[in-house]
């Protein structure tokens, strides 16, 4: 057990620091550090969502690449929970649905039902190039293509897959609009 605590101490805090926000850094531009986007995001989450933004992630047919990067938001470097953003297990608890993939036709009904199960007010983010426009898979006998072909979408975060930073920026721009 001592070794375990030793390792924790030795590892230290890797979570990327939140610098003080000055008026110049408050707008999201590409390549700004995690902390900068995060702090702005936290301010919006605090103001608009009483400090807590609940996201339900739905894989509607993705290749699982987007899921890997969404997962990364929870690792120690990004630690998205410190900004008040957390992933929940049920659409009933969610403010935002984060939908990945082209919507496969076999998932069409499940995606619609998940959307219906989410309480108002709710927002939908289509994540990844596939969610944005169908990507590599497009529309076919098996795929409905873009998420917006199935449920209303409020924001698109493109990328194949989008990086955790791009996901954070996307969340920020959604919150910034509200």
């Amino acid at each position: 057990m001592l070794r375990l605590y030793g390792k924790i101490l030795k590892t230290g805090v890797l979570t990327e620091k939140v610098p003080r926000v000055t008026p110049n850094t408050s707008s999201a531009v590409p390549d700004v550090a995690v902390g900068q986007i995060g702090q702005t995001l936290k301010a919006v989450v605090d103001r608009r969502f009483r400090g807590s933004l609940a996201i339900r992630q739905v894989d509607a047919g993705s290749c699982n690449g987007c899921e890997l990067e969404i997962h990364a938001l929870n690792n120690v470097y990004y630690d998205v929970e410190r900004f008040g953003v957390h992933f929940v297990a049920s659409p009933r608890h969610a403010d935002v649905l984060m939908v990945t993939g082209p919507v496969s036709r076999h998932m069409e009904a499940a995606v619609k039902r998940t959307w219906e199960a989410t309480a108002n007010p709710k927002w939908v983010i289509a994540v990844g190039d596939c969610g944005a426009c169908g990507g590599e898979f497009g529309v076919s006998y098996a795929s409905c293509g873009a998420v917006s072909n199935v449920i209303p979408v409020d924001l698109i975060i493109p990328g194949c897959p989008p990086t955790p930073l791009a996901l954070l920026q996307g969340l920020l721009s959604l919150c910034g609009r509200l």
Partner: protein
């Protein structure tokens, strides 16, 4: 191979050896459709592993191809079905692994497998009607019935009867950041009496979408068969295309492909080790392995321009180079990870609560693993030694031998530790790949293959053996693409190993197998 030919001869089964093989390094024979089932019985008797089956619509007829493997030799058995006689004896009575792949062909090609023990639909839900077959050439990519696709309500799940037996339906939308699929448990109290998987929710029509693409387009698509295996599938597809076109890639490109694939193995195994810890509530492990994984993802971004290394393997070679400066950094990163392991594994090994949850959970016996043909870490945790890199080595592994790691208990602990042991091997392989990397070109120019030429490839992805078959039409356009992710073979293992465990142990059992839904559903 010769022994098998002799056996077929002695059993008076007519076959025609295709010489030279159209699918090297695999040998290829053709048999009558009527002998399809009997051939499986004979192959099983000789200990061949059933590795996959795919069909092809050639317009005038349908062909079905079976891939068998024994001691690193691949054999493709082919049969022709005249149009209008789309029936074939099933091989599922002899090989469990044939069950779902045959049902996939049944749904997508309309070939009926006679005497199949479970002829229910599999990949088909409600997106197309029974009697419609999307992989037939006359079926349009866009489909015949656009419009709302209703849920697949009436799939006949197996039901257990009896007092205090109850069902737990889970999914397709799961309670985490995971892919969709349905699990139907029959349970008594907390004990799992039976588990039935229902997959196919993320069927995106990959095989159909591939038709008509150019080689680069196919490599891109292959890189998205399963996002976590982007290098593995892209490599398999490129290798199959290059063999079809008679292209030999530069040795440097093969080394870089090896480097990418081993890094992919590292990031995925790190993730699995962390996630396994998480599924038993050991947050320390989850965050430590997650930290290491993120470091490697950032290195991927810095050295290869993409965190998951997508689209870095291209037909004819690779799209990235390794400069001496980066090679030095890669060495240092390998050394650092090794040091981290020695610290972390001492801690994990001494953690009795972790041991308590892993040991004895989700046992897959060696006999069961062999009967299923379990691949990758799932097979190797249950005493199966097969590894394409070792048994059917391809460049660069023909120059850098791979030590195959095996555990024998077959429980979650075995699948945890075999991953760790594989990681150690990966690190040593990475060192050798960097040191031994020859100078040379990164790609060779693409040559248009003759119309109808085909290629076959087997590559060891991080989950296990990936198979791929490609056939070209005119002007380098793809006529048929068949990828077989190891998940297709390993998913049924989960149904078996979870039996008798308690329902709350299902997440950790599931993670210990970690099948790809997308790679399975295509």
């Amino acid at each position: 191979m010769d022994a098998f030919r002799a056996l077929l001869g002695s059993e008076r089964m007519a076959f025609r050896g295709l010489e030279p093989s159209p699918l090297p390094p695999a040998a290829c024979i053709e048999i009558d459709a009527g002998d399809w089932g009997r051939l499986a019985a004979l192959a099983k008797r000789q200990g061949w592993r059933w590795a996959g089956v795919w069909a092809e619509d050639r317009g005038v007829d349908l062909t079905v191809n079976l891939c068998l493997e024994l001691q690193g030799s691949y054999l493709i058995v082919r049969t022709c079905l005249a149009a209008g006689r789309a029936r074939l004896p099933s091989q599922a009575p002899h090989y469990w692994a044939a069950d779902r792949p045959e049902r996939h062909i049944q749904d997508l090609f309309g070939i009926r497998f006679e005497d199949h023990p479970d002829p229910r639909r599999w990949t088909r839900h409600q997106a197309w009607a029974e009697g419609i077959h999307p992989l037939r050439k006359d079926f349009p990519l866009a489909g015949l019935a656009p419009g709302y696709c209703p849920p697949d309500r009436d799939y006949p799940f197996l039901k257990a009867q009896g007092s205090s037996v109850y069902q737990i339906p889970v999914g397709p939308v799961h309670a985490g950041i995971i892919e969709p699929g349905h699990f139907r448990f029959q349970a008594i109290g907390e004990t799992v009496l039976h588990l039935e998987e229902r997959l196919g929710y993320v069927h995106k029509g990959i095989e159909k979408l591939a038709e008509g693409r150019d080689p680069h387009g196919l490599a891109r698509l292959a890189g998205r068969v399963s996002g976590d295996t982007t290098c593995g599938h892209a490599w398999a597809a490129c290798m199959a295309m290059e063999r079809a076109a008679g292209i030999e890639i530069p040795l440097r490109a093969a080394f870089i492909r090896g480097l990418l694939a081993e890094r992919e193995r590292v990031i995925n195994h790190l993730w699995d080790l962390g996630a396994l810890c998480n599924d038993v509530g050991f947050a320390f492990g989850y965050y430590q392995f997650g930290r290491l994984r993120e470091q490697w993802l950032r290195e991927n971004q810095a050295w290869f321009g993409h965190r998951l290394m997508m689209d870095r393997i291209v037909p004819g070679g690779v799209a990235v180079d390794v400069c001496p400066d980066d090679a030095m950094k890669m060495h240092r990163s390998v050394v650092r990870l090794r040091e981290e392991f020695s610290e972390l594994m001492t801690i994990l090994d001494a953690n009795s609560s972790l041991e308590d949850r892993f040991l004895g959970a989700g046992i897959l016996s060696a006999e069961m693993a062999q009967a299923l043909g379990a691949l990758g870490y799932v097979g190797r945790a249950s005493g199966q030694t097969f590894d394409v890199r070792h048994d059917a080595a391809y460049a660069p592994y023909d120059r850098i031998p791979v030590k195959v790691q095996v555990e024998t208990q077959g429980d979650v602990a075995s699948r945890f530790w075999v991953r760790y042991k594989e990681l150690r091997v990966c690190l040593s392989l990475l060192g050798k790949l960097i040191d031994g990397m020859p100078d040379g070109e990164l790609t060779v120019p693409w040559q248009i293959p003759p119309e109808g030429s085909e290629g076959f490839a087997a590559v060891e992805g991080w989950r296990g053996e990936i198979l791929c078959h490609v056939r070209f039409g005119a002007h380098s356009s793809i006529r048929r693409y068949w990828p077989r992710d190891p998940s297709v073979i390993n998913w049924p293992a989960l149904e078996k190993l979870v039996l008798g465990n308690i329902v709350p142990d299902f997440p950790v059992c599931n993670k210990s197998v970690n099948g790809s839904y997308s790679g399975h559903d295509l």
